[in-house]
């Protein structure tokens, strides 16, 4: 068991991050080095400045809001939630003053961010069971959502335990020790990480997160990087022209 914990918490994490960063970089380079589309792919009427509208399309999803308002609410909750969770994780490495502009205790959100993201994920998953999204979906779409749900639920459980059930053995300090040891390539597993009541939650959380990271570059999750360039095309950006 100990070995298994070790494999998941140390070497697999390195492999996962390696695949994630290198895989994503290689795939993006490959895509962006393709010849550019020779003509405009714009939808009219045109609105200026184009870059601002492209940003708005990418981050505010106005077309989803207009046509599927309920989906929009959950999509926004989900994506903003993920962003907050990423910030929360960065704070598990160390203090970042910039994130403390709004003072909060680590892990931010008092446990509610994880809750909201879990609920959003369930919504996103269950809507795929209904026609016509069911006919459109492919296994990848379910895998990603299930994986994310498992990651978030086990991750949040650790947070919830501390906050809501007064479970105090596993603390921010221990995460910081573990994570910064990984960062400095001197992996160290504090006793609290591997041998307390909630350790298996942590191990499962990390395990599923590893799987997700390794699948990311090869899946539709790449939309995180490709959405903006695509929306720029729709707003009328043409390579090699002045685009205002």
């Amino acid at each position: 068991m100990e070995t298994l914990y070790y494999i998941i918490l140390v070497p697999m994490v390195y492999v996962a991050f390696g695949v994630f960063f290198i895989g994503t970089a290689i795939r993006l380079i490959k895509i962006f080095r393709e010849p550019k589309h020779p003509t405009t792919l714009q939808i009219f009427p045109e609105k200026k400045p184009k870059w601002l509208w492209a940003l708005s399309d990418t981050f505010l999803l106005p077309t989803v809001r207009k046509h599927k308002p309920v989906l929009w609410v959950f999509l926004i909750l989900f994506h903003v939630g993920i962003l907050l969770l990423i910030i929360g994780h960065l704070e598990l490495f160390g203090e970042f003053e910039i994130f403390q502009i709004i003072p909060h205790e680590v892990f931010l959100g008092k446990g509610f961010v994880g809750l909201i993201v879990s609920i959003s994920l369930l919504y996103l998953l269950f809507r795929r069971f209904k026609s016509p999204v069911r006919e459109l979906s492919v296994p990848e779409d379910y895998y990603l959502l299930v994986l994310l749900f498992l990651i978030v639920i086990f991750g949040s459980q650790m947070d919830w335990a501390r906050r809501w059930y007064e479970y105090g053995e596993l603390d921010v300090e221990h995460y910081r020790m573990y994570l910064s040891s990984l960062l400095h390539f001197q992996p160290e597993l504090p006793y609290e990480i591997t041998d307390t009541g909630h350790s298996f939650m942590l191990v499962l959380h990390v395990f599923f997160a590893n799987l997700f990271l390794m699948f990311f570059p090869f899946s539709q999750s790449m939309h995180s990087f490709l959405s903006l360039p695509m929306n720029k095309l729709r707003r009328g950006f043409v390579y090699g022209q002045e685009n205002t």
């Binding site: 550019k36 939808i43 399309d57 599927k68 016509p132």
Partner: protein, 417 residues
């Protein structure tokens, strides 16, 4: 399908893979936001007519042959072998899509289904299973470009016969030619369609505006684009580009043909002439006071169908409305936002395929009929040959009782001195 055929087809697929195409192939999250976008799905209800479903048919092949995943774990994306069955599916997807790009307005990423369908169309050409008629028509156009001398005489004779009709609409001074052809140094080259309706009213308006114009030898329509053959599209386009350069034309004006306009405007690249749609030119004449029109010529409520390739996909939106303001006080919009106008259901080569697609075109465009009916208009104007044919077919089929008209004809009929 033998290996050689498949490899050849995959090469064609590969030739389509530029940056934008990779974006479109990698990104769809199958969120279903585009479900209500397609007029075919909205009219007929089948899931296979949802934009994302069509794209997925192309994307499955991509996942099989152009992603590493296709080798290790094809089932995760339902990657699919390129087979005879896959070709049938590609045909069904591509030739039930009019390339209107209404779905692109809905998609949070702006995935261009028309582009993805162009892969399907190219594969069909490679497998010799494209609609033959479209290739035939494209080849005829190209042939005409190669051996103009053979056609010239017949063409000029035909044009001569139309001149009387032009003069009936607008009498020019004695000695001027009603339909000038092959004029070096003309300001404007008008590219029409084969058919008097595309030439007579346009000529009358040019003459009324005192334009220094010439009629092109070639017809505007680009069957190469309909069938999705990039080489043929270019050859057909080049005939006109070369003519315009030879005559040192300043402005190439494309008749009421959506595909021709978009191809010329967006695909011709940088040229010494500018490209306009006839609608833009007419609006300009009105604005500059070069022509005058009389509102009393048009009775009843008028609505205007924005041809997808001219409006949503090429931006000619305000001009037709400006013209209509001068033609009537009773104009009614089909939609509040021109991006959401339903496609007539005739694009992408479907109208050019004629009777073969008639049944499908009628069934797939029910929503268009409802949209027109809701305006209560009795004149339905448009600015595209394809749309005009399709809307006229719909008018007959559904007993809509509207009068389908070309916008340019309305202008010509309302001309006053």
């Amino acid at each position: 399908m033998d290996k050689k055929t498949r490899d050849d087809l995959l090469k064609l697929f590969q030739s389509k893979l530029n940056e934008a195409m990779r974006f479109y192939l990698e990104t769809c999250t199958r969120c279903g936001v585009c479900t209500e976008a397609c007029h075919v799905h909205a009219s007929m209800g089948q899931v296979r007519y949802i934009a994302a479903y069509r794209s997925e048919i192309v994307r499955r092949l991509y996942k099989k042959y152009f992603k590493g995943r296709g080798k290790f774990w094809p089932s995760v994306g339902e990657a699919k072998e390129l087979s005879e069955i896959a070709l049938d599916e590609l045909f069904d997807a591509a030739y039930s899509c009019t390339g209107c790009r209404r779905c692109m307005v809905y998609c949070p990423f702006g995935i261009d289904t028309q582009q993805l369908m162009s892969i399907a169309k190219l594969l069909l050409i490679g497998a010799n299973t494209e609609p033959e008629i479209l290739t035939l028509l494209a080849d005829t156009s190209i042939e005409k470009g190669k051996s103009l001398e053979l056609f010239k005489e017949g063409f000029l004779e035909g044009i001569k016969r139309l001149e009387a009709d032009v003069l009936e609409k607008w009498q020019t001074e004695a000695g001027t030619t009603a339909i000038p052809v092959d004029v070096e140094g003309a300001d404007l080259l008008y590219v029409a369609l084969a058919g008097a309706h595309s030439i007579i009213p346009a000529a009358a308006v040019f003459n009324a505006a005192g334009e220094n114009w010439a009629l092109s030898f070639f017809e505007a329509v680009n069957f190469g684009a309909f069938v999705g053959d990039p080489t043929k599209t270019k050859l057909i386009l080049d005939r006109i580009v070369n003519e315009a350069k030879r005559l040192k034309i300043k402005e190439v004006c494309i008749c009421e043909c959506g595909t021709a306009y978009r191809v010329m405007k967006q695909l011709a690249g940088k040229q010494p002439f500018k490209v306009s749609a006839i609608t833009e030119v007419h609006a300009r004449y009105l604005k500059e006071g070069r022509i005058k029109v009389d509102k009393s010529k048009l009775n009843g409520a008028v609505t205007y169908h924005d041809p997808c390739q001219i409006a949503r996909n090429a931006g000619v939106i305000d001009e037709p409305r400006y013209i209509l303001q001068h033609l009537t006080d009773n104009f009614r919009e089909l939609t509040d936002d021109p991006r959401y106008n339903w496609c007539c259901g005739g694009g992408g080569g479907l109208v050019a395929m004629g009777e073969d697609t008639l049944d499908f075109r009628m069934k797939s465009s029910k929503v268009k009929v409802d949209q027109v009916k809701a305006t209560g208009a009795n004149i339905l104007a448009t600015a595209c040959e394809n749309c005009h044919t399709q809307l006229s077919n719909l008018n007959d089929h559904y007993d809509m009782g509207v009068n389908v008209q070309f916008l340019s004809s309305l202008v010509a009929d309302a001309l006053v001195r």
